[in-house]
């Protein structure tokens, strides 16, 4: 019987049907960070429960960690308290923790794949909605709340309902200056911020097939912004090549056996989907958000089409029919679990090389992990950025969300490679976020305003 990857993974991990009618689903990999777990560990202690599978649980510190200096104890007292709580909880439970003093620390959705922890056909849970990122490796990965974190710690299981599967085909060739970020913003724009509620999104088609794992992670990362808790791409040769040699990936003969199993878990030809939509990659342009949710986006040169009374326009300071191109920015932020990987930094560096950040712009680059940072430095990317006037930071979630010392102030406008532009998201209630690709952020940093990055890229050699 032809099945989707989602169905196969669901069947392989289903323990039983619960009295409530929900499925008890085994979680193959539980990723933990400092914000959504302290209360969960407390609940375990209160009830006398132990962590069921500490060997399938891995932790890091990312949301509240400062990126300017990571010396302990942190000056930020709350950050220090939360980090210390996680250290205690992990030590007591025998859970592997990559704390700031570890070389492997970073944003949880960057280090999971980096270390080869994330693998095809696993179920993966984490107390963070961008857990969908790991679907790029063909995992069924989803965000959970703190009480569910408690459930996974105590039982390595969740009570869940199955989802429908929507197949999203992207075919055709992406234009110059158009990236994975533009593709997912376009998908969300068309399907809407609630379009995916009740669905897992399976992305495929020639454009997706041609993407690297980093690009696939950008796509899957923002599935939740479209309402889809789960987003995945079937594992293929690109996936297997990515995993080969990574620390937690199987080795030798075991790797070959793994590849065989992974291939078998991919969606079958002829698998039934609840819905299908198709996108033409060639029609996608550099895209920016203009509003207060990730669905409110527009091509950089296209006029904003919105109801003149839309509160989003008033809040952001745009008139209907205006173009986002030409909007002055105060802050440029490249980083986050969406676009904080080595390839993202390389795309940004291509735009920045030989140019300088506009004098009025505060520009920061936050590598997604310490490993990304080291790899970037080995290639001299940090010099390119520092010479241009960017701040070169340590690894963490940073300015994606206002939970650490990196925040907008007042009505500042940021060009940001992150994933959410909700009111107040970047730490100031009146701050304004424009989401775009890392190359577009780099271009805006240089120009001091949003511009079409294609004007700044070298022409393709004949």
């Amino acid at each position: 019987m032809a099945d989707t990857l989602f169905q196969k993974v669901w069947n392989a991990h289903a323990v039983r049907t619960l009295p409530s009618g929900q499925t008890q689903l085994f979680v193959g990999l539980h990723l933990v960070h400092e914000v959504t777990t302290p209360q969960a560990f407390d609940m375990l202690r209160q009830h006398g429960w132990r962590v069921a599978f500490p060997e399938r649980t891995f932790a890091t510190v990312d949301h509240i960690v400062p990126t300017s200096t990571q010396q302990r104890p942190f000056l930020d007292v709350m950050a220090e308290e939360m980090t210390a709580a996680l250290e205690r909880n992990c030590r007591d439970a025998g859970i592997n923790l990559w704390a700031p003093d570890s070389e492997d620390q970073g944003i949880v959705h960057v280090i999971g794949p980096e270390l080869g922890l994330t693998q095809p056909a696993m179920t993966i849970a984490c107390g963070d909605s961008h857990t969908s990122t790991h679907g790029a490796l063909g995992a069924v990965a989803f965000g959970i709340g703190t009480s569910q974190v408690r459930d996974v710690l105590a039982s390595q299981c969740l009570a869940l309902d199955p989802l429908k599967v929507r197949r999203i085909e992207v075919d055709g060739r992406l234009g110059r200056g158009v990236y994975a970020k533009d593709v997912i913003l376009t998908i969300i724009r068309r399907l809407g911020v609630q379009g995916g509620v009740g669905y897992a999104y399976e992305y495929g088609g020639a454009t997706i097939d041609a993407m690297s794992i980093d690009e696939r992670m950008t796509i899957c990362n923002m599935s939740i912004e479209g309402g889809a808790r789960i987003g995945y791409i079937n594992p293929d040769e690109t996936t297997f090549a990515f995993l080969r040699g990574r620390r937690y990936a199987p080795k030798g003969d075991a790797f070959d056996r793994a590849v065989k199993w992974w291939r078998g878990m991919a969606s079958d030809a002829g698998a039934p989907y609840d819905d299908r939509v198709a996108f033409d990659a060639a029609a996608i342009e550099p895209t920016v958000t203009w509003g207060i949710n990730p669905g409110q986006s527009v091509a950089v040169s296209e006029p904003i089409a919105a109801d003149p009374h839309d509160e989003a326009l008033a809040f952001m300071g745009f008139r209907p029919g205006a173009r986002v191109a030409g909007t002055r920015i105060d802050v440029a932020f490249i980083g986050s679990c969406t676009n904080g990987r080595l390839s993202d930094l390389e795309e940004a560096a291509r735009v920045v090389r030989g140019r300088r950040v506009a004098p009025h712009v505060k520009a920061l680059i936050v590598p997604g992990s310490q490993a990304v940072r080291r790899a970037a430095e080995a290639r001299g990317l940090h010099e390119t950025f520092i010479d241009a006037g960017f701040e070169w930071r340590g690894a963490g979630c940073s300015m994606c969300l206002g939970m650490n010392t990196d925040r907008l102030e007042g009505r500042q406008v940021s060009a940001s490679s992150s994933n959410r532009n909700f009111k107040g998201r970047q730490g100031s209630p009146t701050g304004r976020t424009l989401l775009m690709s890392p190359a577009m952020v780099a271009a805006a940093a240089i120009a001091g305003e949003v511009v079409d990055v294609r004007e700044m890229l070298d022409p393709v050699p004949a």
């Binding site: 929900q22 193959g28 009480s147 569910q148 390595q156 199993w261 206002g402 730490g427």
Partner: protein, 199 residues
């Protein structure tokens, strides 16, 4: 061992109308209040930035003091999975949310706290909001089994996803004990998964 929560078959109380689609969890509970190791005190920070920007915000409005049912529009609770958002609502005294639609993660998190999110059609949500704005003292009754909300002269069809509805009715909306019940079955699944066995 664990405290077994009791069945939730109906929620009664006064309403608080919160108009607007796509109210996200960053607004319900701004990120800076997630910098904590416990959920205590979260009720003080509910909608903190929205309320500071708007003195007329429904959560500032004394007419709705003591209300336990929030009435919303579409895609309520979208965005981050932060449980701090429904925790804030619950600790504030909210016992149910009624609206056109909800983020899945939010609805699930709220259910874990014993807070049903009832879906009603678009017009019904707006009618209920208008009714409560006109008469804040109106008693609202939400029936989990019957899938119905009554308020003033209104009787509205309201639905919960069947597994959540059953969970509320059977008192099993906090599933940890249930998940631990047959742990041998869990071990058996783990033992069969190739990646757990190391291929």
């Amino acid at each position: 061992m664990s405290h077994q929560p009791s069945a939730i078959s109906h929620v009664e109380g006064r309403g608080l109308p919160l108009r607007g689609d796509d109210i996200d969890t960053d607004r319900i509970m701004p990120a800076r209040f997630l910098r904590a190791v416990s959920f205590e005190g979260l009720e003080r920070h509910l909608f903190e930035d929205d309320r500071a920007a708007d003195p007329q915000h429904p959560f500032n409005d004394r007419r709705y003091e003591g209300a336990s049912i929030v009435i919303v529009n579409a895609n309520f609770g979208c965005g981050s999975s932060r449980e701090h958002a429904p925790q804030g609502l619950s600790r504030f005294g909210i016992r149910a949310v009624v609206g056109e639609s909800f983020s899945e993660i939010f609805q699930g998190n709220a259910a874990m706290l014993g807070m049903p999110c009832f879906a009603v059609d678009r017009d019904a949500a707006a009618k209920l909001q208008a009714l409560v704005e006109a008469a804040p003292d109106t008693a609202i009754a939400a029936d989990v089994a019957a899938g119905r909300i009554t308020a003033g002269g209104l009787a509205i069809e309201a639905s919960l996803p069947p597994p959540l509805r059953d969970a509320f009715l059977s008192g099993q909306w906090n599933p940890t004990a249930m998940l631990l019940d047959r742990f041998d079955d869990v071990r058996a699944v783990a033992a069969r998964l190739p990646y757990i066995r190391g291929f």
